[in-house]
Structures are given as structure tokens and as C-alpha cells.
Amino acid sequence: MTFGDFDPDDALDREPADPEQVARFLHGLRRREGLETIDFDDVDELTRLVLIAVIGEVLAWMRRQGSG
């Protein structure tokens, strides 16, 4: 099958990253590597919140590095 007309400019992204979406993405990568067994939505709420908070701090640090 083909999906012929997508090009990188369609994904042009100048918005700051959202910690929850980054957390979901990383969790998905870990699942693909066999390091996680459950969906992100099935992770207990406290753990999810901690993950999101940690990633939020990392993103904020990256933004500070970028702006410095």
C-alpha cells in the first residue's frame, strides 16, 4: 500500500513539547523493546503523574539550555 503525499513539512512543529505526549511516546518505545508490559493508560495514576512531572522537568531543562 502507499500513502503517497505525506512530506516532512506536514509535521512542521514549532510548539513546545507536551510532557504527557512525550511520556506516552517513551513508554511506547519501552514497550516495543519489551521493557514494559502494559499500556501507558493502565499504569497507576501516581506513577503516570510522576513520569509526566519528571519529563516536564527534563523538557524545561532542555528549553533552558536551548535559550541559553
Binding site: 505525506f6 506536514d10 510548539e15 513539547a17 504527557e20
Partner: protein, 287 residues
């Protein structure tokens, strides 16, 4: 993430419009899916129409699978129409589908340059775009879905754009979709605006408007006050502001009278804030 970080109920919007919604393991999780920037910063200003340029042999589910996980820049688009008009929700938040392009003006505001992904709904269709037939049921579903998405956001039915600069007024010149006009079946026949057969944006807008029936005044989304209630509230706020100004006028900026006035009225502001918070909580519980 910026703005309100909205994840919108695509399935409910489509189902309420009478469309058939499909959710399988392939597109499951659409409710929390978004590009890296997260949900929409505000309700989308309009609908960008695309086609997937998929091969005619591509199943709807294979097309959706590519959008959800096959493309490294997933999710591609917010919602996809299958060949017979089935609605497949892809991402309830902002997607990657119409980045470079614009700016464009819509009824409720402007989509800034290169921000179509966060300011517009992006609808894909499992169609090759190079001559594959657009059945009557597919075109009907496209217009119905577009109108429903716009209505949900308080937009006009003709707050749409194509992904192509068909008649010089689409979102970008990188693409040709939706196309081809000659392959559209049924009574509605859009004109073609270029050699690729891109549908005429004016014809698309006119048809959306015609099928919606009337062009209602766009409501202010999230604002469920009547005009009279709004006028009364503004009257109260204006009175507060006038009293504040009078205090400033009496003894100059930040004099004792002004401080006293601010102190007295801070209770009013606190009370208004408290009422608002309680109403929000009640609304949540009733939902």
C-alpha cells in the same frame, strides 16, 4: 503544550451527525493521541480537507495503521474517512498533517503561518487522489463530518480549506488534495482548479454551506450565557471598574482611598472566583 490542551470527542461528534464510527485495535487510544505538542491550544478554527494518496487497494485499516504508527511523524490527521464514509478517529489532539502553509483567515480568527496542525481539524480520506472514484456516500460523509466538526467549534460551515492552492486560496502549494474533481460521483460536481484536478475550494465551501441549510451566527464556544445575561454581567463589571476609577481619581494612583476601594472589592472578586470554581465543579459532576 500551549493554550487549553484540548482533546476533542471526535467519535461523539461524528456519531451525533449520523455517521458510522469505527474503532478497532488499530486506532484505539485516539482519545489521548496527539503530536508531541499535545492537545489543541484552542478549539480549531476550521477544517482542512485532504486525501491520503493511498493506493486503491489499501484497506481502510491499513491506511489508518500508517497514520497511527507507520509514519514516524504520527499521528497523521485527526480523523480518516474510509472508502465508504466510515469515520476512523485518529487523534483527539493536534496532529501532523498540515504544518507548512497559511496563514489563513477563518470566521473566529486567523490560522498563523505554519500552524495548521494546531489550529485546524485535519481530515484524511482513503483515496488515491489521482482518479479513484469518490462515491456519493463518501462525499456525503465528508461534508457531513466537516459540518459537524465546524459546528462543534462554533465555526461556520464554510470555514474549510483544501490542502492545495487550487484557486490561489488554499492552505499550501505543496499538495493537490482533495482531488480529483472529475472522479466525484453524484449530483454535486466540484470544478477542477488545476491540472491535478484539485477540487475548487469555492465550490466546496458553497456545498458545505448549502447542506448546513443556514449560516447561523457563530456561537462563542464555551460561552453559554444569553446576550442578556452577558449584558448584565458586563454591567456589574463596568460598575466595579467605574468605582475603582473613581477611587483613583479622588486621591491619585495608589492613594489611601484607592487602597481601601481595592481592599473592599477584592472580596467581590474572590466571591466571583469562588462561584466560578463551584459552577465548574458542579458541571463536572453533572456531566
Amino acid at each position: 503544550m500551549s493554550g487549553q490542551n484540548l482533546y476533542l470527542p471526535i467519535a461523539d461528534i461524528a456519531a451525533d451527525a449520523g455517521l458510522r464510527v469505527i474503532v478497532t485495535a488499530t486506532n484505539a487510544g485516539w482519545e489521548t493521541r496527539a503530536r508531541s505538542s499535545g492537545g489543541f491550544p484552542a478549539l480549531p478554527l476550521g477544517v482542512c480537507w485532504h486525501h491520503a494518496a493511498s493506493s486503491p487497494s489499501t484497506s481502510d485499516e491499513a491506511c489508518v495503521n500508517y497514520q497511527v504508527r507507520g509514519n514516524p511523524d504520527n499521528p497523521v490527521g485527526n480523523v480518516t474517512l474510509g472508502r465508504t464514509g466510515d469515520v476512523w478517529p485518529i487523534a483527539a489532539g493536534a496532529s501532523n498533517c498540515a504544518g507548512k502553509g497559511g496563514p489563513m483567515t477563518f470566521t473566529r480568527g486567523d490560522c498563523p503561518t505554519d500552524q495548521g496542525n494546531t489550529h485546524l481539524w485535519n481530515v484524511e480520506v482513503n483515496n488515491s487522489g489521482v482518479g479513484e472514484a469518490w462515491s456519493v456516500e463518501l462525499v456525503d460523509a465528508y461534508i457531513t463530518l466537516s459540518n459537524a466538526l465546524n459546528a462543534y467549534c462554533g465555526n461556520y460551515p464554510d470555514d474549510i480549506t483544501s490542502h492545495a492552492l487550487g484557486a490561489g486560496d488554499g492552505y499550501t502549494d505543496r499538495k493537490i488534495d482533495p482531488a480529483t474533481a472529475a472522479a466525484v460521483e453524484g449530483p454535486w460536481q466540484p470544478r477542477s482548479t488545476n491540472a491535478n484536478g484539485t477540487w475548487h475550494l469555492g465550490d466546496m465551501r458553497a456545498e458545505c454551506l448549502a447542506r448546513a441549510g443556514t449560516r447561523p451566527p457563530p456561537p462563542d464556544p464555551g460561552d453559554d450565557m444569553t446576550d442578556q445575561q452577558f449584558a448584565e454581567l458586563m454591567g456589574v463589571l463596568n460598575a466595579i471598574a467605574a468605582a475603582q476609577q473613581a477611587d483613583f481619581d479622588r486621591d491619585g494612583t495608589f492613594g489611601p482611598k484607592a487602597d481601601e476601594g481595592i481592599s473592599q472589592r477584592s472580596a467581590i472578586y474572590d466571591a466571583l472566583g469562588s462561584i466560578g470554581g463551584k459552577l465548574d465543579r458542579i458541571t463536572e459532576l453533572l456531566a
